[in-house]
Subunit: 373 residues, 2 copies
C-alpha cells in the first residue's frame, strides 16, 4: 500500500484524502495544528509547520508521493526532494512561479496568456507613475502570501496611496490595473503523467469580500466565451506543463477572457464536482499526482450551485440546522470538522444540483441560511 | 459537535463515516481489530469486541447516537441502552428479529409479506418430513450468524441430509424451500424519524458462491414487477417501522416478488448509490439515525453497475492495476484499506456509470479484471 503525503491539513487536504483512500492509498498529513480538518480522516499526521524545510523532509520520510494543498509550503525543500527524484507534484517550479504573484503574471504574459496590466512597485511614487497610464482605481498587492483578500488594497485615487502602503506594510508589492469585469469565471484543469489534459466545465464564481462564495456550474455564458475560457485554461495548463490540478480564475471583460490568478492545487471553484460530475477535482488531482490517468469530465446534472459556509463569529463550533438544510431536495452538505470558527473561515460548503439554475441556486442559498456554525 | 458511534469497523462503517463527517459528526468506531477499514477514516476507535455487552456500553459512553454495521453486535446491551432512552438505530427489536433468520421469516409472514416456505428443523428426520411436502432440493440454514453463504447447505436429495447437518453442526437450524427464481432483486429502503419512507431504485443482484458480486441499477424488469418490488419493500419498511436503512433482498419467481432476506443496515446492493444517485445509502442511513430527514432518490445516470473486488488468496495486500482500471471511462474505484486479504473477502468495489447497461457492465468487469489485490 502506497502512501500519499499532503502538506497542509485544511478542507482541501480532507477532500483529497477521501479520494486517495478510495483509490487505495494511505494518507499522511503534514500540519502544525493537531487534529486539523484533513487529519480527522487521514491515517497519520506529522504535527509540524509546513513552512519549514525540515517538516517537508519529515513528510517525505513517511510517504511515497508528495503533494500540497497550500501555497505557503516550504518550496526549497520541495526542490531539494524533486532534484533527488522524489515524486513531488505540482513540480516545485510551478509553485515557485505561482507563489510570487508578480512572477506568476509575468510567466502568464510570457506565455501569451492575457492578463490585466501589472507593474512592480517599490515606492508610493511608482503608483503615481502607473496611474498616469492606467488611471484609478489601482489594486496594490503583496507579491507573496496574499489569500482571500488578505494582501490586497484598492486605491481609489492618489489620496489612498499611503493607506494602501500602510495596510500592506513594506512587503514586496506590485500593482494591477483595476478590471471592470462582467463576470468572474473559473476552470479547473488537470494534467496527468501521460500528458493528458482535461478540464472541468467553466463555472461562474461570485466573490464577496474577496472570498469565493457562490459557484454556478456551468457558467451562463455564450458558447463562444465558454470555448475561449477553455482554450485559455488549456494554454495555462500547457504553459506550466505540471502534473495535477490547477485552479484557474478568470475575468470576462467584454468578449475577452483574461486570467486573474492560478492556484497550484484543487480550488474552491471546483467543489461542485463531487456531486455534479462523473469524477471530482479531488479524484483528478490524486490520480494525476499518483501516476494514474485523469478522465474526461461530464456533468451528471443540468445545474449545480456551490455555496461556502463561512464562519461569522469567533469561538467554538456550534453546528445546527443541517437537518433543516438537507430537507431541501438535492442539497448536499459538507462540514469540514473544524473545531473553532472565526469570521470568514471556510467551515463547510453546500452543493445543490438540479435542472434549473434558478431553483438550484435558491435551494443552495436557502440551505446555507438554515445552517449556523 | 455530536458523535456518532458505529459498532463494526468494516467497509460499511467506513462509508458511513464518510457520510457522517460531511454532515458534521465526529465518528467513533467499535471494533476488535485495531485500525480496521472504518477506523482509518474515523476520529477514534474503541478496540473491543462488539459481541460483548461491555463493549457496547463503552461505545455509548463515547457517543451521542449509536448505530451498527454488523448483525453480530451484542443486542442485549442495545436493548438496555434503548430502554434508558439512549438513541440506538435500528431499534434493537429490529435487530433481534433479523438476527434469527427463522424469526425473520416468521415476522415477514405474519406481516403478509411473501416469503418462500420454511420450517424449523430439529433433526434430520424433520428434513425428510418437509421434503415430502416441498420436494428436493431443500436449503438447510443456521438460524444465527449466517453470512455470505456461511451457514447454508443445499440438500439435493435424501442422501445429502447427513452431510448438511455435518457442515452446519448442531446449531439451531431451519429449512427453506429451494426457490427457482428468474432474477434476484434488491431494494434499499430508508425511514427517518419523521416517518418518511423512501426507496432506492430496484436493482438486480448476481450472486456467485453466495456472495453478491454484481449489481445492476436499475434492474431490467417490466414496470409492473418494479412496482411490485417497491411495494414489497415499502411493506417491509412499514412492518419493521424502524429508523435507518434496510437492505431488502428478493427473488423474482414468475411474476411474484418474494422476500429472501432483510439486513438491518446499509447493504452491498446499495453501493452504486454513491455515484449513481443524488444521495447515497450511507448518507440516508446517517441522516435517519441522526434525526435528519431522508430524501427522495433519483438516479443521475441511465445505468450503473457495481462489481465487488473480492480477495482471491491469503496474505498481505499488494494492490495494483488501479491506474489501468480508472483509465476506463466513468469507472470509480473504492478500495477499503484492509491490510490483509483472504479468499472472498470484500476488499473494495467498482462502480461504473453510463448510458447503456451493456457497456457499463463491460466497463465494470474489465476494470475488475485489471485490479489485483
Amino acid at each position: 500500500m502506497k502512501t500519499l503525503g499532503i502538506a497542509g491539513g485544511g478542507q482541501l487536504g480532507r477532500m483529497l484524502t477521501d479520494s486517495a483512500h478510495a483509490l487505495g492509498y494511505r494518507v499522511v498529513i503534514l500540519d502544525g495544528i493537531k487534529g486539523n480538518s484533513a487529519v480527522q480522516v487521514a491515517d497519520a499526521q506529522i504535527i509540524k509547520d509546513y513552512r519549514e524545510a525540515s517538516s517537508i523532509r519529515a513528510l517525505a520520510d513517511e510517504c511515497d508521493i508528495l503533494t500540497y494543498e497550500v501555497e505557503k509550503v516550504n518550496v526549497e525543500a520541495l526542490i531539494e526532494l524533486s532534484n533527488k527524484g522524489f515524486p513531488v507534484h505540482h513540480k516545485p517550479e510551478t509553485l515557485l512561479t505561482i507563489k510570487d504573484k508578480f512572477q506568476q503574471k509575468l510567466f502568464l504574459l510570457q506565455n501569451n496568456i492575457a492578463v490585466s496590466a501589472f507593474q512592480k512597485i517599490d515606492s508610493p511614487n511608482d503608483v503615481r507613475v502607473v496611474a498616469k497610464e492606467w488611471g484609478y482605481p489601482i489594486v496594490l498587492k503583496a507579491r507573496f502570501d496574499g489569500f482571500d483578500g488578505r494582501g490586497n488594497a484598492l486605491i481609489l485615487d492618489e489620496s489612498g496611496i499611503d493607506d494602501a502602503f500602510k495596510k500592506l506594510g513594506h512587503n514586496m508589492l506590485y500593482a494591477e490595473e483595476f478590471v471592470h469585469f462582467q463576470k468572474e469565471l473559473a476552470v479547473i484543469g488537470a494534467r496527468d503523467v501521460y500528458g493528458s489534459v482535461v478540464s472541468f466545465p467553466v463555472v461562474e464564481t461570485v466573490h464577496e469580500d474577496h472570498i469565493c462564495n457562490i459557484v454556478r456550474a456551468p457558467a451562463d455564458i455564450p458558447k463562444s466565451i465558454e470555448q475561449k475560457a477553455l482554450a485559455v485554461a488549456h494554454q495555462v495548463m500547457d504553459a506550466f506543463a505540471s502534473i495535477g490540478v490547477l485552479g484557474i480564475e478568470m475575468f470576462l471583460v467584454g468578449d475577452r477572457v483574461i486570467v486573474n490568478e492560478v492556484a497550484p492545487r484543487v480550488h474552491n471553484s471546483g467543489h461542485f464536482s463531487i456531486e455534479a460530475c462523473n469524477v471530482s477535482q479531488f479524484d483528478q488531482h490524486v490520480r494525476a499526482v499518483c501516476g494514474l490517468p485523469v478522465e474526461n469530465v461530464t456533468m451528471n446534472c443540468n445545474s449545480a450551485v456551490m455555496v461556502n459556509i463561512l464562519g461569522d463569529r469567533e469561538g467554538k463550533v456550534q453546528l445546527s440546522g443541517v437537518d433543516s438544510a438537507v430537507s431541501i431536495p438535492k442539497v448536499n452538505v459538507h462540514i469540514y470538522g473544524k473545531l473553532k470558527t472565526r469570521r470568514a473561515l471556510k467551515m463547510g460548503h453546500i452543493t445543490a444540483t438540479g435542472s434549473s439554475m434558478k431553483e438550484v441556486e435558491k435551494n443552495a442559498l436557502e440551505a446555507r441560511r438554515r445552517i449556523t456554525i
